[in-house]
């Protein structure tokens, strides 16, 4: 059982107009076996939270903490975080020139496990996982994400999730850009990884539709760099009906008090 704990996190970025605070005090605790959905409108800071957890250099943590089983994650380099068991499925996976998927997957697996995977079982595992995610076998020989469609990139992110077996998965809008069939395939992948019982999930999404396939235990509504409301799965249903307007409407509107999940 592991715990990923985010406490009063404040994050800013440098822009041409100067320093801009994006996360304004985020607290979240995720335990192994739990699925937390973070839902929020565009620009509310969801990706910022995800990238900050992974250690993207663009984001500066000005105060607060992130710990993994008590270890200071913010002290770790990007690769150390991954090796400690944090996985980020990116909203916009980057194309890496010159590196084939095969080579990349093996190198990453070796780095994460601290030893090279047994070649025969590894090849078999990769093949099987690709098949389940309906990724064509010839992708293995292509360069990482190069020329992949939006949907293909997302499947490949989940392929990595399944192969690397992280302690915590942060899925940043994995559902965006997927058609219904792909959404199902990808969700099944996440559910398989979750079913091992060794993973906690932070599922970031703008829409509720992925929550039909991946059942969250907790839902956090994210607006303007803060969690403004928290609840169980029923909160997602309400968002489906009402949208985010309630949280965004004029200055006078009461923001629902954050309830402790």
């Amino acid at each position: 059982m592991s715990t990923l704990e985010i406490k009063d996190l404040h994050v800013s970025i440098e822009t041409e107009q100067g320093t801009k605070e994006i996360l304004k005090g985020v607290s979240l605790t995720i335990k192994t076996g739990e699925t937390h959905a973070i839902m929020g409108p565009n620009g509310s800071g969801k990706s910022t939270l995800a990238s900050t957890i992974a250690g993207h250099p663009r984001y500066t943590v000005t105060s607060g903490s992130i710990t993994l089983d008590g270890e200071d994650v913010l002290e770790m380099s990007v690769d150390e975080r991954a090796r400690a068991g944090v996985f980020l499925a990116m909203q916009y996976p980057v194309e890496v020139p010159g590196v084939t998927m095969t080579n990349f997957l093996r190198t990453a697996k070796t780095a994460i496990d601290g030893e090279a995977p047994a070649l025969r079982t590894w090849t078999k595992d990769v093949k099987a996982a690709m098949q389940e995610l309906r990724i064509d076998a010839d992708f293995a020989q292509r360069n990482v994400n190069e020329g992949f469609s939006g949907g293909e990139k997302k499947r490949v992110e989940i392929l990595q999730l399944e192969l690397f077996k992280p302690k915590f998965a942060v899925l940043d809008e994995t559902d965006s850009g997927l058609d219904v069939d792909a959404l199902k395939v990808v969700s099944e992948g996440v559910n398989r990884a979750h079913a091992t019982g060794n993973m906690g999930t932070l599922l970031i999404t703008h829409y509720t539709r992925i929550l039909r396939y991946i059942k969250p235990d907790f839902v956090h509504v994210f607006v303007d760099g803060k969690v403004v409301e928290e609840g169980g799965p029923e909160l997602a249903d309400r968002l489906e009906e009402e949208g985010y307007d309630r949280y965004l409407s004029g200055a006078g509107a009461a923001v629902a008090p954050a309830v402790q999940a």
Binding site: S77, A82, V94, P97, G98, V99, A108, A111, V144, Q160
Partner: protein
């Protein structure tokens, strides 16, 4: 890769790309030299009227135009004007770092040549008057002509007719001096022979080199030119191949070491049915200038050419240049040609110049395409790989290794492939600190 342009020009589909010189809607013959019917006096050299038909100009009679075929070629140094650096073919080269290759008499001791060859191959050291000298090339620039004027002896390697070599011919050219010098090598692949020749350049030298390569009819020859010089070396190498009927030529340039390396491989089809592949790999570190200019002269019908050069750059003032000229002459119907250059920029402060030049004087071709792409290995790539647990240094290596491997794999000699893979690893390791 971040910027990619790919072009496959075909009959009836002329390109609007501005850098395909001389390509009209009819897709033919725009080279001024042909347009006005000028045919200069043939050179007195052995190539006159042959592979350099009508387009070589002895006695300093260059036709100033943008066509590659119009470039001055001559055995005489005095036919070439002093370089200013403004010339089209020298505009990227830092002349002051040539250490006199363009200005001085090349009287220094040339790198020593040692050859190990399988049985059947003849290796000779000959004087300037040997009749095989001048069979494949006429100097196309001043530095090459300077070497031609100054070399004292030449190494001639012959793969006899109908012989298939079971191992490579290894030629080590070991530099041991810093005085400007001249070198000359001739490689002859006789009719229907099959062979591989590796020219390994190493040590310290300031040298201008002419390599003439003759492929007789039906010959299959691979020439690998390795530039693994010490950091202080300056090397200009004109490597000109003449391709006989149905001959297959593969040329691989690997430039890793040296302060300034400028290799200009040229392939000229002397008869129909030939195939040429020009491959190159380079890795420029801080301060290095590595320049490659390829030229495929489709002067004959039904020939195929493919050019692929890939380079990596890292460190302050690492500079690479690739200029790829392909000329498809009016008579070269049925030509199929493609050329591509890709560069991977690993750090700030590097510069990669990449210029494909395609001149097409006939529309009756199978295809002619080019592509050039310079991509950055940037922070987002690094972040992606590191977010998968891969440490930074491993991530960088992964990218470069994968990128350059495509060329290494073309060599098809396991021992050599391994050696080059290791050499690339060393380059990477050197850049880590």
């Amino acid at each position: 890769m971040t910027e990619t342009t790919t072009e496959k020009a075909r009959i009836g589909a002329p390109s609007a790309q501005p850098y395909i010189n001389g390509f009209t809607e009819e897709g033919e013959n725009l080279s001024p030299i042909n347009a006005d019917g000028t045919v200069a006096a043939p050179s007195s050299g052995p190539l006159a009227g042959d592979s350099a038909k009508g387009h070589s100009h002895g006695g300093g009679v260059g036709v100033p135009d943008s066509s590659r075929a119009g470039r001055l070629t001559s055995y005489k140094l005095e036919d070439f004007k002093a370089l200013t650096g403004l010339e089209e073919d020298w505009r990227f080269t830092p002349l002051r770092r040539l250490r006199g290759l363009h200005t001085e008499a090349l009287s220094g001791a040339a790198p020593s040549v040692s050859v190990s060859a399988p049985e059947g191959v003849t290796v000779e050291t000959v004087g300037r008057d040997d009749n095989r000298i001048g069979t494949a090339g006429i100097p196309e620039d001043r530095v090459s002509a300077n070497a031609w004027a100054n070399f004292k002896e030449a190494t001639v390697i012959t793969v006899p007719a109908e012989t298939s070599l079971d191992s490579e011919v290894s030629v080590v050219l070991a530099g041991n001096g810093s005085e400007a010098s001249a070198q000359h090598v001739v490689i002859v692949a006789e009719k229907f022979s099959k062979g591989l020749v590796v020219l390994g350049h190493e040590g310290s030298a300031v040298v201008s080199e002419n390599v003439e390569i003759v492929l007789e009819d039906g010959a299959e020859l691979t020439v690998v030119s390795l530039q693994e010089w010490n950091d202080d070396s300056v090397h200009a190498s004109s490597q000109q191949a003449k391709i006989g009927r149905d001959a297959k030529f593969k040329h691989i340039t690997v430039s890793l070491g040296g302060n300034l390396v400028r290799v200009t491989p040229t392939a000229r089809f002397a008869a129909p049915g030939g195939e040429v592949e020009l491959f190159g790999l380079y890795f420029a570190d801080a301060g290095q200038h590595l320049e490659h200019r390829t030229y495929v002269d489709h002067a004959q019908p039904n020939c195929v050419s493919n050019v692929l050069y890939k380079g990596a750059l890292q460190g302050k003032d690492a500079h690479t240049v690739w200029v790829g000229d392909v000329l498809i002459q009016k008579q070269a119907e049925g030509t199929d040609s493609y050329e591509k250059n890709q560069n991977l920029v690993l750090t700030d402060g590097c510069r990669a110049d990449s210029v494909p030049n395609l001149e097409i004087e006939t529309g009756l071709i199978e295809g002619a395409g080019h592509a050039s792409a310079t991509g950055r290995f940037d922070d987002e790539h690094l972040f992606y790989l590191m977010a998968r647990g891969i440490p930074e240094d491993v991530a960088r290596r992964l990218v470069v290794r994968g990128f350059l491997n495509e060329i290494i794999q073309k060599i098809k000699v396991p021992a050599l492939e391994e050696r080059l893979t290791e050499a690339v690893e060393r380059e990477l390791a050197a850049g880590d600190n």
